[in-house]
């Protein structure tokens, strides 16, 4: 039972971290960087 409470509490902390990140603009940041061709991913150099 203690472990279950531990899991729930820690999960809640992580979900809160996602929400807080969202409020800071993390979602938009990820969208903007993910919407351009990633040269590093492709192994290309400028």
């Amino acid at each position: 039972m203690k472990k279950l409470i531990f899991v729930i509490l820690l999960t809640a902390v992580f979900v809160a971290s996602i929400v807080y990140g969202g409020r800071l603009g993390d979602f938009e940041e990820i969208e903007s960087v993910g919407s351009v061709m990633c040269l590093s991913c492709m192994g290309l150099q400028q």
Binding site: F6, V7, F14, I30, V33, M37, S40, M42, G43, L44
Partner: protein
């Protein structure tokens, strides 16, 4: 017990690996940007705000979602704390541990399929599985922070397979092809190495290099989804059937919740004694051998 074994054998003959179905469905959803097949442009939309819980390249033209490891490094490059990405990894890890590696990851599926090719099969020494933590902390963490470059992405074999090779191949203008240099060929060599070793060693990349697997592996001991081993049922530890069918070569009969377990459930389905069960947050009984 005999009836149970017979049922188990019949079930085994009829059963398609369920995590394979999950991998296929997840791959179709992840690589669902069909217009890219004729336009060649990557997806730009709100779905890119979401990450998939596995290693996938957001530079792939077919990709609808973002790569959490790319996102993590992006925040490190900007010297910002990645609240969203760490929260995402943590929430997924706390709920299912490393389950996403087995059920959702297309790169994991590729390795599973490669390992079906008949060849010399090798067993990976356990110490090598700790190398992925060095990749996570060193390459995707410290080096990304100080160089302000996503160095894991620069070396990631999934990136060259899903984005580099397709985009260079269909490049009509020659603009992309002009940027091919030593890094591109380095990634090709890394990909070739991963392919060759994956044929000989089960899930070679996942076990040795994957930084996302490294993160989730920490949560395997605590996650809500958990395995329980009934030691009374696992009488014959010499059978080692669970170990033989395990895609990660784990000694399930010793500890079913090891850091390398990807919760594919093959041991649950195939144990002749039905000794391994999937549970939600109960302390597993371990068989000491």
């Amino acid at each position: 017990m005999n009836d149970r074994r017979k049922k188990q054998r019949i079930k085994k003959k009829q059963r398609v690996k369920t995590h394979r179905i999950g991998q296929i469905i997840a791959s179709v959803i992840q690589f669902g940007h069909i217009p890219a097949l004729w336009t060649g442009f990557i997806y730009q939309g709100a779905l890119k705000q979401g990450c998939v819980p596995i290693l996938t390249c957001w530079g792939c033209p077919l990709s609808l979602f973002s790569c959490p490891m790319g996102g993590l490094q992006h925040f490190f490059n900007l010297h910002l704390f990645p609240f969203y990405i760490l929260g995402f990894f943590g929430a997924v890890g706390m709920l299912v541990g490393r389950m996403a590696c087995a059920w959702v990851c297309p790169f994991g599926m590729l390795q599973d399929l490669l390992n079906k090719i008949k060849s010399v099969k090798l067993r990976l020494p356990e110490w090598m599985t700790y190398f992925k933590y060095a990749v996570l902390i060193g390459v995707a963490g410290i080096i990304a922070w100080f160089t302000m470059e996503p160095w894991f992405c620069k070396l990631c074999p999934a990136g060259i397979l899903e984005a580099g090779i397709p985009l260079v191949s269909v490049d009509k203008t020659g603009d992309i092809r002009a940027l091919v240099g030593w890094l591109f060929w380095t990634k090709i060599v890394i990909l070739a190495g991963v392919v060759v070793f994956s044929i000989m060693i089960k899930r070679f990349f996942c076990r040795v290099f994957c930084p996302i697997g490294a993160i989730y592996s920490v949560f395997n001991r605590f996650s809500l989804v958990h395995f329980e081993l009934t030691s009374e049922r696992c009488r014959n530890t010499d059978c080692r059937h669970c170990e033989k069918i395990c895609p990660m070569d784990i000694n399930v009969y010793k500890n079913p919740n090891q850091k390398e377990c990807i919760r594919c459930l093959e041991c649950v389905y195939n144990c002749p004694n039905v000794a391994v069960k999937l549970k939600f947050r109960k302390k597993a009984k371990l068989l000491n051998t």
